[in-house]
Each structure stands twice: as C-alpha cells, then as structure tokens.
C-alpha cells in the first residue's frame, strides 16, 4: 500500500512537471489557432513551419537559423577557450591561487542570467559596441566557457601527471605534447563541454535579450517572447517547441551516457 502511494506520488509529480510540454506537443499535431481547441490530427502546422507558408514562418526560420549559428560559434569558441583555460588552471602550482581561480570560474554559473545580461549590456554600451550578432556571440561565450572548464577539469585531474613529461621526454615539443597527448586525454570532457555549451546557448533568453541590440536580430527565444507579447502564440511555434524539446532531450541523453561511460572506464 505504502509503495503504491509512493509510486502514485512520483507519477503525479512527473505528470505535473511534464504536462505543459505534453500539451504543447499534443496540440502541435492539430490545425487550430489556440491551444485547447482540438480539430483532429493534422501535420499542417509542421508543414507550414517547414515550407514557410504561414505569415510568420519565414521570421521563425530566420530566428531558428540565428539560434543555431550563434550556438555553434559560441560553443566552438568557448570549448577552445575553456579547454585551454582548464589546462592553464591545472598547471598552476600554487594550490591557493588555483583554488581561487577555480572559484572565480564558478561565479558566472551561479550568477543569475539577468545580472549577466545587464552587466554585459552595460559593458558593450560603455565600450561603444552596438548590439548585434557579435555581441550576442561574445555574451554566449562568456557564460558558456566556465561550463567547459568545469567539464574538462575532472579529466585533467584524473590524468597521470607524468604523461605530458613522458611526451616531452620522447622528443615532442610542448605544442606537440599538448596536441598528441593532452588533447586526446581531455577530448571526452571537451565534447561534453561543447554539447553543454550548445544547449545552454540555444536555451538562453535573458542574456540574449539584453545583448541583441535593436537591429532586429532575433533568436528563437527572443522571437517567441516578442511574438507572445503581440497577442497569442503563432500556432507553428508549438511545432518548433516540440522539435527543440526533442533535440535538447536527445542531447541530454547523450551527455548522460557519455559521463556514465567515462566513470565506468576510469574506475579500475
């Protein structure tokens, strides 16, 4: 009895958690203007989203394209920056300095997005850089990099510290040793970091809103927000939300499986 109650509670919780998303997904498969009005199963909304038939569809696909481009560029650059930074932090001999820098690295992650957004906005304004594509990418790199550092660090800590020296000893220049020994060792952490940065970038709203400027640049999140404020959601956005949810879910599963594989591989 007790067990049934416990399970029922758990399922109730899950239903409440996922009900909003489920409703959006369900109503993406019907051709109606508003949610709650079921007009039979249809893929019309998906079709109009993909073909650009609807009045807003071209704006949506531009926003989607912007989101993906920004996410790819920001994730790639922050992976490079974060990995190099992690190696640098790892090589700091002084323990106190190292811990201080790691702590500093963690602050942007617990900092509320809105604060990050406002501060970056003020920074760009004070530097006289007008908002646009570049500022959004810079802002995304700024908040993604710490996550990359965080996912690369454990790989470095687990690495035998002598292998870099072993490579030098065998005649590799410091750069060759980095490329042929350190990079392969931290690669799993880099890939996890990249995926994490990519999802974070797609996900972001607050920071983007403050840094996108007034030149009409929209990402999905800012577009949806603007669209919703104009009165009601464009129906096609339900399909888009479903697709994004599915994509993020898949990426999440990939990250989880990767980290589990890493753990089992290194516990010997």
């Amino acid at each position: 009895m007790k067990k049934i109650l416990a399970n029922a509670y758990l399922y109730l919780l899950l239903v409440i958690l996922y009900a909003p998303i489920a409703i959006i997904v369900i109503f993406s498969f019907t051709n109606s203007k508003t949610i709650g009005d079921w007009k039979g199963f249809s893929l019309d909304l998906y079709a109009s989203l993909l073909t650009g038939g609807a009045q807003h569809a071209s704006a949506i696909s531009t926003a989607l394209l912007n989101t993906i481009i920004i996410a790819l560029i920001a994730a790639s650059l922050s992976t490079i920056l974060g990995s190099v930074a992690a190696v640098g932090i790892f090589n700091i001999k002084n323990r106190k300095v190292r811990q201080a820098i790691q702590f500093t690295n963690n602050i942007p992650m617990i900092n509320p997005d809105i604060i990050t957004g406002i501060s970056l906005f003020l920074l760009f304004v004070s530097l006289g850089i007008s908002g646009g594509f570049v500022t959004v990418i810079l802002a995304h790199i700024a908040f993604c990099t710490p996550y990359v550092v965080l996912s690369v660090m454990p790989r470095l800590n687990r690495m035998n510290p002598n292998i870099y020296e072993a490579a030098l000893d065998l005649g590799a220049t410091p750069f060759q040793a980095f490329r042929k020994v350190i990079i392969p060792e931290i690669k799993p952490g880099m890939i996890s970091g990249f995926i994490l940065a990519f999802t974070l970038s797609i996900d972001d709203f607050a920071v983007t809103l403050f840094t996108k400027g007034s030149n009409g640049l929209e990402t999905l999140s800012t577009y949806i927000y603007a669209d919703a404020r104009k009165g009601g959601l464009t129906p096609e956005l339900r399909c888009l939300a479903s697709i994004i949810f599915l994509t993020v879910l898949i990426l999440l599963i990939v990250i989880n499986r990767r980290s589990r594989k890493n753990e089992t591989k290194t516990t010997y």
């Binding site: 292998i163 030098l168 000893d169 410091p174 042929k180």
Partner: protein, 496 residues
C-alpha cells in the same frame, strides 16, 4: 646481502673505473685525473642546488657518471633523489650549478632536445594509444619511416618479452607488463642515457626480483648508461656499478656497492644500507679501538689518538658460540627469529649493549653465549660531530636566544645583550619532553640511530636547525617533542 659481504674482499674506495666525487666535497676520493678523464664522463653534475620556493631540496650535489655505467641514486623518500633525476631529464631547472652531457652544457636545454629517455615510476603510458603506438611515439616524432618503426618496435617488444602484445590496450596490461612497455618505449629511441625513476616500486616482490635481473641483463646488452633512482637498498646493491647515497638533499657517499656496504662513510649510510650495529668508540692508537668497554684490534689507521669515533659491525660479522672462557664478549640471547636463510638474534652483552647478530645456527632466547669479532670486520668512522654547536644571541646576562627561542643560562660575564655567541650543548644534556609545552623549543624527531645502549636522535626544530640528542627513551620517527636544556648545560662563548 650476506653473500656480498662474505664473498667480496674489502675494496679500496679509490677506483678509477668508478664514478668519482667532485674533488672538493668533504671526504671525497681524490679525483686527480678528472681533467684527463673528462671525455669518458657522459653526465656531469657540477655543484647543483635546487630550491622549490624557499625549501632547498638539493644542496651542492656533484656527480660524474661514466659512459655505460649503471648508477643508482639511493636514499629515503624526500632526500631529493627524484628531483636530481628530473633535473637531469630537464623537467625542472637547476637553481644553481651546471649539468653537462658529453662535455656540453645542457643546463638550459629543454627535455625534448636531450638525448635521454625516462622510465617513470607510474609508467606514464599514453592511455589513448595501444602498446605499439606507445612504443612508436618517439620514432614517429623523429619522422623515421614506417617500415623502420615497425622493425624496431617489434625488436624491443621481443627484448622486453611482449611479442604479440602490439594491439593491446595499455589499460588491459598488468603492472609488470605496463612497466615493460614503458621501458620499451624509452629504449626504442636508443638514448645515450636511460633514466629510471623507481621503476619497480609498484610491483610485487617476486616480480620485482625478476625485473631486476632483466634490467641488469638489458643494461649489459644495450650498453647504454643507466641512472636509476630507488629507495630500496637491496635493489641498489643488486643492480649497480656505482651507488650514490643521498640524504636531505646532500650526497652522503659515492662508491661501488661493496664499498658502500663495507666502508660506509657515516652512521646514516651504515644504517641505511643493510642492518648494522653502530656503537660509540675511542681510537686508542692505530689498529686499536675501544668500544663496549673493551679494546679491540682493528685494521683502521690514521685517526688521532683518543679520537671519538663511530664503529660499525655488520650483524653477520659477529661470530656467536656457546659460552667459553676465551671469547672477547659474553652475553645472553634475548630474541631469536628465523629469517629464511639465517637466524637473526638480539644479544644483550654482560656490559649492557644490545647487538643484532645473524648466523646460520640458532641460539634460543635465554641461552648464554660468547661473541667474537674479527679485526677486519670492525669498521671505524670519523664522527661527524661531537657536540651540538649553535649560533645564538645574548638577550641579557642570563638569557640566550637559540633555535629562535629564549633559553635560560648561567650568568655570563663579559657578554652583553645583542652579542652573537656560539652555544655548545652536549648530546646527553638535552631533555626531550612528550608535551611540546613543557620544552623551551619544539621539534620533530627526524632520524633515529641505535647505538647499542642508547639512541642518538636527530631532532629538526621549528627553526629548521637540527640538534642531536642522546637518550635512553624510545621515540618514533616523526614524534613531536619539546626540547628542554638546563641552564648549566649551555656552554656559551663569544663569536669571533
């Protein structure tokens, strides 16, 4: 060890074929022909010191290694031996001094340009590469062509007994196999010098013994110079042409294994290499030494008359027999343990000394025995010090600051506050207290030497200075102690 001792005649310390100490190190062999021999030294370590921050880990180390030699750097953990190896490999930079290879200064050369290779303690194999790729790593960097790489990798794999392991993942290998891959990865590059940092430390005893023999054979076959770091004295004695004994960042003694074993230069070396009885003695005249209230004939000469000395007698060099009247010493066996080949017994002599004795015959605890020591088995060493000598400052006429703490002393005439003074304290006059608060200064017991009827301790004080204490109490290495000295035991004189 017994075999080494019994089978080898005592070898004189001076030996031209052997690595030699720099001429100006105290107690060094006179290396009068260093300049002529310069060409044959492959590695020269010339007055090298190393600091990490303000901690000195190597203190004026000099070492000359001949081509093709098997040199072992031996010492307890923290003695600086691994640091010395890392300086040779180039992973760390020297703070002072010069390292030369084939007469060329390589002090500033980065590790990847030094023609030597290292076998690391924890193997340091590349986990993302298989056995073949690990071994081929160095050759690929040198742009050797594929066919040649293939040939050489297979030949070293055969040498280390890992044929058919090419495709194996290094994580799937046992510790011994990983070590073999690490050795193969180094020697495939045909280095002029192979550096080995405790390569066998992580292996079990049986495996270690096998690998020792294999390493020795490899050294013979390859003809390259081996510089080997270990804390295992038996390993050092088994493998080396030359042993370098280090302690606290300083070279203690350099010599052949038999020299180090039979003619240790100080109590540290005697105690560290093998078991030994170390006793206080007085040199009465040439070839006559008194210890344990008894005058013995010995073979040592050149000491001052009545010089206080340390006497070393190896446990296997004391002959033990049933009680008889003609023996030099009588005693009673207190314990007897079977050690495999021999028995190890502790005998308390009638005049109160405790001696360790190894013999093939067992004498049970409680048995009355007699002991004989042959003159050639007594090894006499100069004492490194006879008393503690510290530098201090007078506070007022009956207080002096030494070891960064203020001690009370007897009223001193002719000395004013602020005067720099020398303070002498006899080993017997320092009291060690369990509770640090009870002492005037605090320290940590850093080295214990049993002298037959008392302990001679080295205590490293909080000020970083070492003081030496004779005591009958049993202390452990690393014990925190309070240091107490009664006022009348401080002998103070003005510094000139």
């Amino acid at each position: 060890m017994t075999n080494i001792q019994k089978n080898c005649p005592i070898v004189q310390l001076t030996d031209k074929d052997c690595t030699q100490r720099a001429p100006d190190i105290p107690g060094a062999v006179s290396a009068n022909n260093i300049s002529n021999d310069k060409k044959t030294y492959i590695i020269e370590i010339d007055h090298v010191s190393k600091w990490f921050g303000d901690k000195q880990v190597l203190d004026d180390v000099s070492l000359f290694v001949k081509k093709g030699e098997f040199v072992t750097i031996l010492g307890p953990s923290g003695c600086g031996k691994t640091t010395l190896l890392r300086l040779i490999a180039g992973f760390n930079q020297v703070s002072e001094g010069i390292i030369r290879m084939d007469g060329q200064d390589i002090t500033q050369i980065p590790p990847h340009k030094r023609p030597m290779n290292t076998v690391f303690q924890r193997y340091a194999l590349f986990p993302h590469l298989n056995v073949y790729e690990n071994i081929a790593f160095g050759l690929k960097l040198k742009k050797v062509d594929e066919e040649e790489i293939d040939k050489q990798v297979r030949s070293v794999l055969k040498l280390v007994g890992l044929t058919d392991y090419e495709e194996r993942n290094v994580d799937s290998l046992s510790g011994g196999q990983q070590q073999r891959v690490a050795i193969a990865r180094a020697i495939v590059n045909k280095p002029q010098v192979l550096l080995l940092d405790e390569p066998l430390a992580a292996l079990d005893l049986k495996m270690r013994k096998d690998m020792q023999l294999e390493l020795k054979q490899m050294h013979k076959d390859l003809g390259i110079t081996f510089i080997y770091v270990t804390h295992d004295q038996e390993e050092a004695l088994t493998l080396s042409d030359t042993i370098v004994v280090m302690n606290k960042g300083k070279v203690q003694q350099i010599g052949k294994p038999t020299d180090i074993y039979n003619e240790p230069i100080n109590p540290f070396v005697a105690d560290f290499i093998g078991d030994s009885n170390i006793l206080n003695g007085i040199m009465k005249e040439d070839r006559k030494v008194q210890f344990m209230y008894h005058e013995f004939d010995c073979v040592d000469e050149g000491f001052k008359k009545d010089e206080h000395v340390d006497v070393v007698i190896r446990p296997e060099d004391i002959y033990i027999m049933q009680r008889n009247q003609s023996a030099m010493l009588n005693g009673v066996v207190s314990t007897c343990i079977f050690k495999g080949v021999h028995y190890e017994m502790v005998v308390i002599t009638d005049n109160g000394y405790e001696l360790i004795i190894q013999d093939y015959n067992a004498f049970e605890a409680g048995e009355e025995v007699s002991l004989i020591i042959k003159p050639s088995d007594i090894h006499v060493m100069h004492k490194e010090r006879y008393t503690n000598t510290l530098v201090g400052t007078m506070e007022d006429e009956n207080h002096v600051t030494i070891l960064d703490e203020t001690f009370e002393c007897l009223p001193q005439e002719g000395l004013e506050s602020g005067d720099e003074v020398n303070v002498e304290i006899k080993f017997d006059n320092i009291e060690l207290m369990d509770d640090i608060e009870d002492g005037y200064a605090a320290g940590i017991v850093s080295f214990i030497l049993y002298k037959g009827n008392h302990y001679h301790l080295t205590v490293t004080t909080d000020s970083g200075e070492d003081i030496y204490v004779n005591t009958n109490d049993v202390w452990d290495d690393g014990d925190m102690v309070g240091i107490k000295i009664n006022p009348e035991h401080l002998k103070i004189s003005k510094r000139v």
